[in-house]
């Protein structure tokens, strides 16, 4: 018969160090397997593609010259001409870029909404709306224990510690030291707050290919968790905040337009729910303004005043054509060869013009400008020419603006699906 199992004496340890060594080795292996699995999962998804029309290789000038030259007006002209080639950089690599190179890279990372010149169909079903906080649009990257915000043109706005993942040098247990995140924000001066209007990467996971619906869901659930919405402290210099985002139905539109927000409004932003985060101009995100919800309904000139005549900033091409920043660019006129030679402008220069109202025509829904009057080279902080939609919106704003009532009218309640939109008289 079997002997009953012999009990181990309490004085003889049941745990052997060999077993412990095995277990520790196993633990290390499990950890590393999980690490490499996570690396793989994040790998492709954290790579941004720098797409560009130019395929020429970027030849970097000597670094020393580059840094000094970057500040000179002359070199500024090169900024948009030496378009970055299609190459992949992730944000961690990009954050190591310096000076002009960095500005150039970051200037191309933002999604730029078109101006709303007509109302997209199914606004109530497929779109979100929210009040845009007044302030500078910027791209906020936390990585390597620090946080950097960069303006639309790529230049640094703030360099600060934050509670975003890996956004400060605290012994924070959340996530690996290499972790980073990227946010699309508006910095609102009066309350010194970064209002986050989109989430691009979070803890190494890229959200570029996610729908706006998902990005906003993620933004709302993650940002507060990180502590970034807390009041400022030593390791968290600026507060971050989300903005209330509404489905673009009657109620949502009304709330975004009329409700008072903790921030000064500067128009409304409309985001298509199904659209991915796309760098550059996109018709799937739209900006709209009027005098009620924005102090900047009509564009201002370099002195901050509304000029009597509408002004536009266009980019000069090799052949002297003056184009918008769209892809493909829209041509609004061209410069005479003599004038170019006299002025020593180069291709890629951004030039400011005034428009004579009477020279403008709308043909088949397209805006055509008959007469551009040169004013000056544009402020060198600018990275891009105006977009076609902006020019059009500003023109309309001066003549027959798209009103909030028009937008509201397009999103009637209880509109049966698939029924064509019919004209209905509102409030008359």
């Amino acid at each position: 018969m079997p002997q009953p199992e012999v009990r181990r004496s309490i004085k003889r340890s049941a745990v052997s160090d060999q077993q412990r060594r095995r277990e520790l080795a196993l633990l290390r292996q499990t950890q590393q397997r999980s690490d490499s699995q996570n690396r793989a999962r994040r790998l492709a998804s954290s790579v941004f593609t720098l797409s560009s029309s130019s395929s020429s290789d970027l030849i970097l000038p000597d670094k020393g010259i580059l840094t000094r030259a970057a500040d000179s007006e002359e070199h500024e002209a090169h900024l948009d001409e030496s378009v970055a080639p299609a190459r992949e950089l992730n944000v961690v690599q990009a954050s190591k870029l310096k000076g002009r190179e960095a500005r150039q890279w970051f200037a191309r990372q933002l999604m730029l909404p078109e101006w709303m010149i007509d109302i997209p169909p199914k606004l109530d079903r497929d779109w979100y709306v929210f009040a845009r906080p007044a302030g500078n649009r910027c791209f906020v990257v936390s990585s390597n224990g620090t946080t950097i915000s960069r303006l639309r043109n790529g230049s640094v706005l703030h360099h600060f510690p934050s509670s975003l993942p890996n956004g400060s040098r605290t012994r924070d247990s959340s996530g690996p030291a290499s972790s980073y995140c990227v946010l699309d924000c508006i910095f609102h001066e009066p309350d010194q707050t970064y209002y986050v209007i989109d989430m691009v990467c979070w803890r190494d996971y890229s959200l570029y290919d996610c729908t706006a619906e998902f990005r906003f869901f993620w933004l709302n659930s993650k940002l507060a968790e990180s502590g970034a919405c807390n009041s400022p402290s030593t390791y968290h210099r600026y507060r971050f905040s989300v903005v209330p985002i509404y489905d673009c139905n009657q109620a949502g539109l009304h709330a975004a337009y009329s409700t008072s927000m903790p921030y000064t409004k500067d128009g409304l932003l409309f985001f298509n729910k199904h659209a991915h985060y796309q760098t550059g101009n996109t018709p799937l995100a739209l900006v709209w303004k009027d005098n009620f919800c924005s102090q900047y309904f009509l564009d201002t000139d370099s002195q901050g005043l509304v000029p009597t005549q509408q002004q536009v900033v266009l980019e000069m091409q090799e052949d002297g054509k003056l184009t918008t920043s769209d892809d493909p660019p829209v041509e609004f006129g061209s410069l005479e060869v003599d004038f170019i030679q006299k002025s020593e402008f180069r291709a890629g220069n951004l030039l400011r013009f005034a428009i004579k109202d009477e020279s403008v025509r709308v043909v088949d829904g397209k805006l055509e400008i008959g007469d551009l009057q040169f004013i000056s080279k544009s402020n060198r902080a600018r990275a891009f020419a105006d977009s076609y939609s902006k020019v059009f919106f500003q023109y309309a704003a001066r003549h027959s603006p798209l009103k909030i009532e028009d937008i509201a009218a397009s999103i009637l309640p209880n509109l049966p699906d698939d029924s064509p939109i019919v004209d209905v008289e509102m409030g008359s």
């Binding site: 060594r21 999962r41 991915h276």
Partner: protein, 868 residues
């Protein structure tokens, strides 16, 4: 030559004769199995044959029916089942006939063989008349036949599972067995056989134990048997009580008072083997209650299958004094004897279990005994008091113990230095170790160790490490736990003495008597722990230790021409040294600054390890293998230069089915290599994959190695990316069938469920690795045909509701990997699977952060795939 002579020759003193006879038997078996079996059974049954040939005939028969090796066993079972019916019935009839032989050895051998055949045939519903025929006229049998019959029934119960026997037959067996145990049974042999048979039959008695009358009867007979005049019967009866205590814990309430009286009398008055079993009864009750209370998890309203009856708590006032008495019954030299087991040791062990069961309540019951005895001139009293103290240190709350320990600590340190008795010092050092293990460390609010007393403790321990081997070994153990308490604490007060500690431990390993009382092993283990707890500050000392241990390993390789005894010692020492190197390498490799210090030794270390492997012919040194994993982790891609030299041993390790731990560790090392070498491992993958796939399909390999092999497939795929293509056609079907198996596994018990979950986890990790490996490759489409099955597997797992957290995390990750790598190909199919979506939602709201994280990743990947 006739069979009798061959069987006798097979036991001859002359090796040549013996060998020849063994070969003849083997030939006989191979050439004509039926005749072979018949001759053996006839030999066993034949009263005129010598007892030695009969016994061996029975033994060979038994070996022809069963084997410890699973594969061989299956073969033998098939072989027996396919024999001609008439042959089998002749063999069986001979065996049954032998049960009435006057020769005890013949009867006993026949009993065992009958049980083996029953073990094969009863599950096949064959030999249905066996039990009835054994029991038919048991009352009329002569005592020796009755004894053999009961013994046979006992063996049968041991051999077959309870499901195979009808309740009706179980009733008959139990009736016969319990009647045989009854005091009215005249023959002591019959009573003993019946009592031992009951031990095996207890597993069959579920129904009978649920019936009050039947249970009362069985319990009364067992309790009476503990009072039998025959010591063997008393011991066997207590063994039954021990088995009952764990099998029928919840049925014991009404017997506990009686059992306490019986056991207490046995512990105090009976012979040692009986007393030991009586103590074991209480230890076993503790085991049960500790398990039950563990399941409650501190929450007394929680459901548990079995309620806790708090038998120990109730018995405490009487139980503790009884156990304390046993502590005074030490044997001289018990501390030098590894296998010693006596009343004092069993009593202390039980006291320790009681403390874990009842916690704080034990302290006031034991303290007076300690106070009264600890200063007595008689060593037995001092040792017993110390032992009692050491035993109760696990269980009661630190709040209760710390004040006591604070008072006792100085006394203990002095005793370890000054007590004239070796046993007292041994137990004192052990008690200090227990104090450090349970009342010191970063998890406690207050530790008994302060920066002030730390130095004194250390001085005493280092001094004590020069004491006799058994005391020095315990001092090493105490130092082990002292160091362990400083794991993860940057400002360890041991740092200033780090060099001294290491030197003292090295000195211990060099003692001439370090082979006694496993002293050398203890010293190396403590050295390992000290290295693990080293800090940035002490890292240079660890770096200096590396070449010292390397030199020691080198020296073991220089000694030539060893006796087999010496060779074994050399192996053991190499194991300890490789283990120590593993710990050092892992420590140095984990930080960038120290990794550099290690790198300069990497070449030499690898050369040493390869030489260690070369010392042994077939078996790979487990410790060296573990250490090589640590090297790969530290040197990364540079490991490539060692691959050619190492590869043969890697393959050997993967082929080592016998020592499955070695195989498992080698599989882990393959994973390390994948991560270190990445795509550079490709040239070796054909060989590795062949071996891994072979292992997976082998029925000989211990099952615990299979889950890590699946995970390893994932490691390889992740490392070599789309080059894994050529292995897909082999590995995917294997993963599929294993997935099938693991999701259908009706997990009857926790152990099966654990295994099923390990298997599932391995399979899912393989899928993850393969999917991620193919990401962004055009060849990813090759995986599309496998998607439906993977999703089905995930659906099944979700529906079964029995996966553990680890599986849940991996499973939801695979959902994300499918979407990440295959985009719309996967997401379209996923939309049709309700479970996937629900599963994802469930994981997103999980409390476990790692599951949640995995689920968030999956949600993101799916959302990307859907919106493409």
């Amino acid at each position: 030559m006739e069979v009798t002579q061959i069987l006798l020759n097979a036991q001859a003193v002359d090796a040549a004769v013996r060998k020849h006879a063994e070969e003849s038997l083997k030939q006989f078996e191979e050439q004509n199995l039926p005749v072979f079996l018949l001759s053996l059974s006839n030999e066993l049954a034949n009263h005129e044959k010598p007892v030695d040939s009969r016994k061996l005939a029975g033994l060979i028969l038994k070996n022809a029916l069963d084997s410890k090796e699973q594969l061989r066993k299956t073969e033998l079972v098939q072989r027996w089942l396919s024999l001609d019916v008439s042959v089998k019935s002749q063999v069986k009839s001979c065996l049954l006939q032998t049960l009435s032989s006057p020769v005890p050895d013949a009867r006993s051998t026949a009993s065992q063989v009958i049980a083996k055949i029953a073990g094969i045939e009863l599950p096949q519903k064959q030999w249905p008349e066996l039990i009835t025929s054994l029991l038919s006229n048991i009352h009329q049998l002569q005592p020796h036949v009755k004894q053999a019959t009961l013994e046979t029934l006992g063996y049968i119960c041991e051999e077959v599972s309870p499901q195979v026997v009808d309740q009706d037959q179980v009733n008959k067996i139990l009736t016969a067995v319990v009647q045989g145990m009854n005091a009215s049974e005249g023959s002591a042999d019959v009573r003993l056989a019946a009592t031992r048979a009951l031990y095996n039959a207890l597993g069959f008695s579920q129904t009978n134990f649920s019936n009050d009358m039947e249970r009362d009867y069985i319990m009364r007979v067992v309790c009476e048997a503990t009072l039998s005049p025959d010591v063997k019967i008393r011991q066997a009866a207590f063994e039954c009580l021990v088995a009952i205590s764990s099998t029928y814990y919840d049925k014991l309430a009404s017997y506990m008072q009686d059992i306490f009286n019986i056991t207490s009398k046995a512990v105090r008055e009976d012979e040692e083997p009986v007393g030991l079993q009586a103590i074991e009864f209480w230890s076993s009750i503790c085991d049960e209650e500790i398990d039950i209370l563990d399941e409650y998890g501190g929450d007394f309203t929680a459901d548990s299958d079995v309620p806790c009856y708090y038998f120990i708590k109730q018995a405490l006032p009487a139980l503790v004094p009884m156990l304390l008495e046993t502590l005074l019954k030490q044997e001289e030299d018990q501390d030098q004897d590894e296998g010693a087991w006596n009343l004092a040791m069993a009593g202390g062990t039980c006291l320790g279990l009681v403390a874990r069961t009842v916690g704080d309540d034990i302290v006031p019951l034991v303290m007076p005994f300690i106070q009264e005895n600890i200063t007595k001139p008689e060593w037995r009293q001092r040792e017993a008091a110390t032992y009692a103290f050491g035993s109760i240190l696990e269980g009661p709350s630190p709040d209760k113990l710390i004040p006591v320990v604070n008072v006792a600590l100085n006394f203990m340190l002095t005793a370890l230095m000054k007590d004239p008795n070796n046993h007292v010092k041994d137990t004192t050092a052990w008690t200090l170790g227990r104090i450090f293990e349970f009342l010191h460390g970063s998890t406690l609010e207050t530790s008994v160790i302060t920066n002030e007393n730390c130095q004194q403790i250390l001085t005493v321990l280092l001094q004590s490490m020069k004491d006799v081997p058994n005391v020095a070994e315990k001092a090493c153990g105490a130092l082990y736990f002292l160091a362990q308490g400083y794991e993860d604490s940057p400002g360890s007060p041991l740092s200033p003495y780090f060099q001294d500690i290491i030197q003292s431990l090295l000195n211990v390993t060099h003692r001439d008597d370090a082979g006694e009382s496993r002293l050398r092993t203890a010293a190396y283990e403590t050295l390992n722990e000290v290295v693990r707890t080293s800090t940035d500050e002490t890292a240079p000392v660890v770096t200096q230790l590396l070449p010292v241990i390397m030199l020691e390993l080198h020296q073991t390789l220089e000694t030539q021409k060893l006796s087999s005894d010496d060779r074994e010692k050399q192996n053991e020492l190499q194991g300890l040294l490789c283990g120590c190197l593993q710990v050092i390498i892992q420590k140095l490799g984990a930080s960038e600054t120290t990794k550099y210090a290690f790198m300069q030794y990497a070449d030499q270390i690898m050369e040493l390890f390869l030489r260690v492997f070369a010392c042994r012919n077939a078996t790979v040194h487990e410790e060296a293998m573990l250490a090589i994993g640590a090297v790969a982790y530290a040197v990364g891609g540079n490991f490539l230069k060692y691959m050619q030299g190492f590869y043969p041993y890697l393959e050997m390790g993967l082929q080592n089915f016998q020592e499955y731990q070695v195989c498992a560790i080698t599989v882990g090392v393959v994973g390390d290599l994948c991560r270190a070498l990445e795509e550079k491992i490709l040239p070796y993958c054909d060989g590795i994959m062949t071996q891994l796939l072979k292992n997976l399909s082998s029925s000989q390999l211990h099952r615990s190695v299979k889950p890590p092999i699946f995970s390893c497939l994932g490691d390889i795929a992740l490392a070599i990316g789309e080059n894994f293509e050529k292995y897909l056609i082999y590995s995917m079907p294997m993963l599929q069938s294993a997935a099938e198996l693991s999701s259908h596994a009706v997990a009857t018990d926790n152990e099966m469920l654990d295994y099923a979950n390990q298997l599932r986890n391995g399979i899912l990790e393989a899928y993850s690795g393969i999917l991620q490996g193919f990401k962004n490759c055009p060849k990813a489409q090759l995986l599309v045909p496998y998607v439906p099955h993977i999703l089905q597997f995930l659906d099944k797992l979700y529906n079964e509701k029995d996966m553990d957290d680890a599986v849940m995390k991996t499973a939801v990750g695979v959902l994300g990997d499918l979407a990440d790598t295959l985009g719309t190909h996967a997401s379209t199919l996923m939309n049709q699977s309700v479970a996937s979506i629900e599963f994802l939602e469930e994981c997103l709201s999980s409390d476990d952060p790692s599951i949640k994280e995995s689920a968030e990743w999956a949600k993101m990947a799916i959302s990307r795939a859907v919106s493409v």
